[in-house]
Every structure is written in structure tokens, then in C-alpha cells.
């Protein structure tokens, strides 16, 4: 590796500044403009209670204990999702056999109250 310095210019960065000035804006428009998130972004977790069969695989594998299954009977259960714990790793989606859990491409909205981040998906029989 070349360890000696040759040029001692005092304005070495000027050309790069000039180039930056001429390039088009790369700053996002959000929050003044539309929010543009890529489709592959792993965001908020949603559960389709109609598809869920209550097997509990997602609960078993969740690293953050963000999912809880409350079972009243064989067919009657609630899947509770704690957004404030979720690691958005997608393991629940990967392990779900029925495709009931899907990670959307929106980020989870902020909340002033932690309880508002709890979501219940109940499946009545």
C-alpha cells in the first residue's frame, strides 16, 4: 500500500463538492412528500385470524416473546401481538404453515401509550 502522500493541495475536496452540487437531490421527501418504502421491507406484523389454526409455532419461535396465544377452547383462541416487543425478524412468518402471519412493508406506527401497541387477533369459532 502506498504510504506516502504526494499532493498537498489545500482544496482537495473542491471537485467532489462541485460534483455533489450538480447531482440531483437524494434526500427523501417524507414527511412533506409521500412515504416510499420498498415492497420487501420487513415491517409490521399482521395476522389473518381466518387462516390461523392456533398451532403456536410462531409463539414458540419468537425470540422476543412478542406473540402470545390465549386459548379458550380448541377452536377459540386469541393471538396477541405486542408490537413494542417485536424484533421484526420474520421468523413467525417463516415458520407459519398456513400463511396467517405476514410482515407488511409498512413500519409500525409510533404510539404515546404502550398499550396501544398491543394488537389482538381473535378467532371465534
Amino acid at each position: 500500500m502506498d504510504n506516502t502522500s504526494r499532493s498537498h493541495s489545500l482544496v482537495y475536496l473542491l471537485p467532489e463538492l462541485w460534483r455533489t452540487l450538480r447531482t440531483r437531490r437524494i434526500t427523501v421527501r417524507f414527511p412533506f412528500g409521500p412515504l416510499e418504502l420498498p415492497s420487501y421491507f420487513r415491517g409490521r406484523v399482521t395476522v389473518d385470524p381466518a387462516l390461523c389454526n392456533g398451532c403456536g409455532l410462531c409463539v414458540r419461535d419468537c425470540p422476543a416473546a412478542a406473540l402470545e396465544l390465549e386459548r379458550e377452547s380448541r377452536d377459540e383462541f386469541r393471538l396477541i401481538f405486542y408490537c413494542d416487543r417485536c424484533a421484526f425478524c420474520g421468523q413467525c412468518e417463516a415458520v407459519c404453515r398456513t400463511g396467517a402471519i405476514v410482515l407488511t412493508n409498512e413500519f409500525a406506527p409510533a404510539a404515546a401509550d404502550r398499550n396501544a401497541l398491543r394488537e389482538e387477533f381473535s378467532k371465534p369459532s
Binding site: T27, V28, F30, A64, R85, F88, F107, A108, A110, A112
Partner: protein, 140 residues
């Protein structure tokens, strides 16, 4: 009249202080990323301040570890009123994947009154911007 001007000014000039209470750097680099060309929050008037005395919003990331607890409290006390606390990331909200650790107390709300929780692991910069906007809306 003056009141409404002040409210406007507060909304337009939220200076933030960042403190990592035990996080993994994920949210922290996203917070730092806010300052850089892609997100440039200076266009919203947000500056990342160095001293707690200059800041309006405390951005906390990570679960609170036992060792950072006192420091977190002190930083909050050093900030002049009016001041707000944002818990950034799932760890900051609840302890996240580190729940149950022997050195982890849980979310920021175990130590400080949290004004807004921004879940995410790590939070996208957009989510943090939206969180700050939401906080400012609430303040008004």
C-alpha cells in the same frame, strides 16, 4: 399571541439528544443516519445536540441496563424544560429480545416517563421521523 409563536417555534426546532442505554447500535446508526444526506432532518429543524442543556427531545435506544440507569436519569434531569423522551426501537419500548436478561431492566419507561414509543428493530429512519412528527403534534 406569544404563546402561539412559541408553540410554532417549538414545533419547528426540536433539538435532540441521543443516548444509547444498552442497545445494539442498530437504532443508533439509524438515528445518526437521520443527519446524513438521504434523510437530512435539518430540513425539519432537527439538530443533534451535544449537551443535554441544549436539547428538547431525548432519543433513547436500547433496553436500560443497570449501569446506564443512573446516567439516563441524570441526563434527563440536566435537560431544561419543556422536554420529551422518545423510546426508539423495540428494546427501548419494552426490552425487546433482551427481555429477562439479568442486567436488563426493560424499556425506557422503567426509568423515565416516555412520551412516545417508536417500535421497530431497528427503527427505519422514516419511522423515527414520523415518531418525532407525531410527538410534536401531540405537544401542540
Amino acid at each position: 399571541m406569544w404563546e402561539s409563536v412559541v408553540r410554532w417555534a417549538r414545533r419547528k426546532s426540536p433539538w435532540v439528544l441521543h443516548f444509547n442505554t444498552g442497545g445494539c447500535n442498530g437504532c443508533d446508526i439509524e438515528i445518526l443516519d437521520l443527519l446524513t444526506p438521504r434523510y437530512d432532518v435539518e430540513r425539519l429543524g432537527i439538530l443533534k445536540e451535544a449537551s443535554p442543556r441544549h436539547a428538547d427531545i431525548l432519543l433513547c435506544t436500547g433496553p436500560v441496563t443497570r449501569q446506564s440507569r443512573d446516567r439516563l436519569r441524570r441526563i434527563y434531569e440536566q435537560m431544561p424544560a419543556p422536554k420529551w423522551v422518545m423510546a426508539i426501537g423495540s428494546c427501548g419500548c419494552s426490552g425487546g429480545v433482551f427481555h429477562g436478561g439479568y442486567n436488563v431492566l426493560g424499556g425506557i419507561d422503567q426509568v423515565l416517563p416516555v412520551d412516545i414509543y417508536v417500535p421497530g428493530c431497528p427503527c427505519r429512519p422514516e419511522a423515527i421521523i414520523a415518531g418525532i412528527a407525531q410527538l410534536l403534534d401531540m405537544v401542540e
